[in-house]
Amino acid sequence: MDYHDLYSLRAIVRRVGKVCAPFLLVIGIWAMASRLSGINPALLPRPMEVANALKDLLVSGSLIWDLLWSLRRAALGLACGGALGLLVGTFTGRIGAFNWLLAPAFNGFRALPPVAIVPLVVVWAGLGEPAKVFITSWAAFFPVWLNTHAGVSSVDKMIIWAARSLGARRERLLFAVTFPAALAQILVGLRLAISSTLICVIVAEMTGAYVGLGYRLQTAYLVFRVDRMLACMVVLGAVGAFSDRLFNFVASRAFPWIALTHDRP
């Protein structure tokens, strides 16, 4: 091992340390609090007990199954709501009549917290899969619509003029100029939509489901298993953080120019 290997090893250790240190700090405070505070361990289990609950759920296979179902519902909602948000945002951002007709209503709905529609959807559509996909689609639609609308409507007119003087018309102007120029903002909408769908899928599953992370959390609550509830929350946090990092990674690889012109998406 030469000097350079040692240097890169130190760099890796430092980097891993920087990532792990905040988590270790939280776990340390948690362990101290559960040991020294005198709070009933059933209410505040120690980190090791939560780790054991997590292991049990993983070994039984139920947690993987729950995770896959939750991800499936979130992905379906993101695909449906995101696609619709992109389409409608393009129309309202580019065509004045659409904006005039639709934007006030959408802005009104947007002001509602997405979870507020859950009881109404359950009453109207029941507890089946379509209701859950509707809720997650609703959650995904508004951030994507708003950011697409804002991105598409605020493309620098000099860029549009330049493209038109180079012969770009209709589809080419839309797909080769307007969308790429608005892409950074559209990606912000998608990123917000991911976290919003993850929140709403859990709420929808807690309201009524037979599988899913929200369902697992709810059943743990009903039998007062705080360790299992915390284990589910650890998984949820990990999924949220991982999906955000993954999205950033894919976006920066697919659209490297964005990092040059904007802050990271």
């Binding site: 330049a162 003087s165 180079l166």
Partner: protein, 258 residues
Amino acid sequence: MNNAVSVPEPLLVFDDVTIAYTNGSVVTVFERFSFAVEERLFLAVLGPSGCGKSSLLHATAGFIRPTAGMIRMKGKSISEPSIEIGFVSQRYALFPWLSVEGNIAFGLRSQKRPETEVLESVDSLLDIIGLAAQRHYYPDQLSGGMQQRVALARAMALNPPLLLLDEPFAALDTETRRKMQDLLLRLWGVRATTILFVTHDVEEALLLADRILLLTAVRGSGRTVDVPFRRPRQRGLEHSDAFQEFRTRMSLQFETGA
């Protein structure tokens, strides 16, 4: 027997052009402006800030419509942007999502030209602007001067008969500006194009143009001055007595609006 000889119309004709904006109140930038530009001419447009130089160029490019009157190119009214009219602005307006090569090829690809022709044109322009090694770079990886070279090449790729330049070198340092002026003259020499070059730099106008349109702060009024220096104009011309004398005279006219 009719002996009348038909004289071809100049490339570009401004016919009683009025440009006004509504911004709460109506602001008239140009009023009944008439002017003609012959083919292959390098015309510099000089004038104080706010005299409407950029508005004139935007209307010529088809970006805005004159409130009254008509701008004609080759006898046809200009009503929208066209590939016949290239445009380069001070802000470059490059597409940040495309590489240098993609930016230069954009117009050719919009015209669905064969890919071999596109690449040939791009290669040739990259050689002229000296950015062959940076062909895969994104605009934001380039300096201001390099970006402006790409903007010039992109506008020239479709070989437009008319090229409009709106203070294209205003944001560049002196040395880069000189290089860009040389490049523009080289491109102008290679391609048979007519140039309208907006600037507020008298020396730049004298070094580059055949004729100068000197606009005044009075809406739509101006006069033309032919530049008396023969081409090719060597570097160092700007230090000659004749140049300095002419420059001083032009500067006085520019400042007083006489």
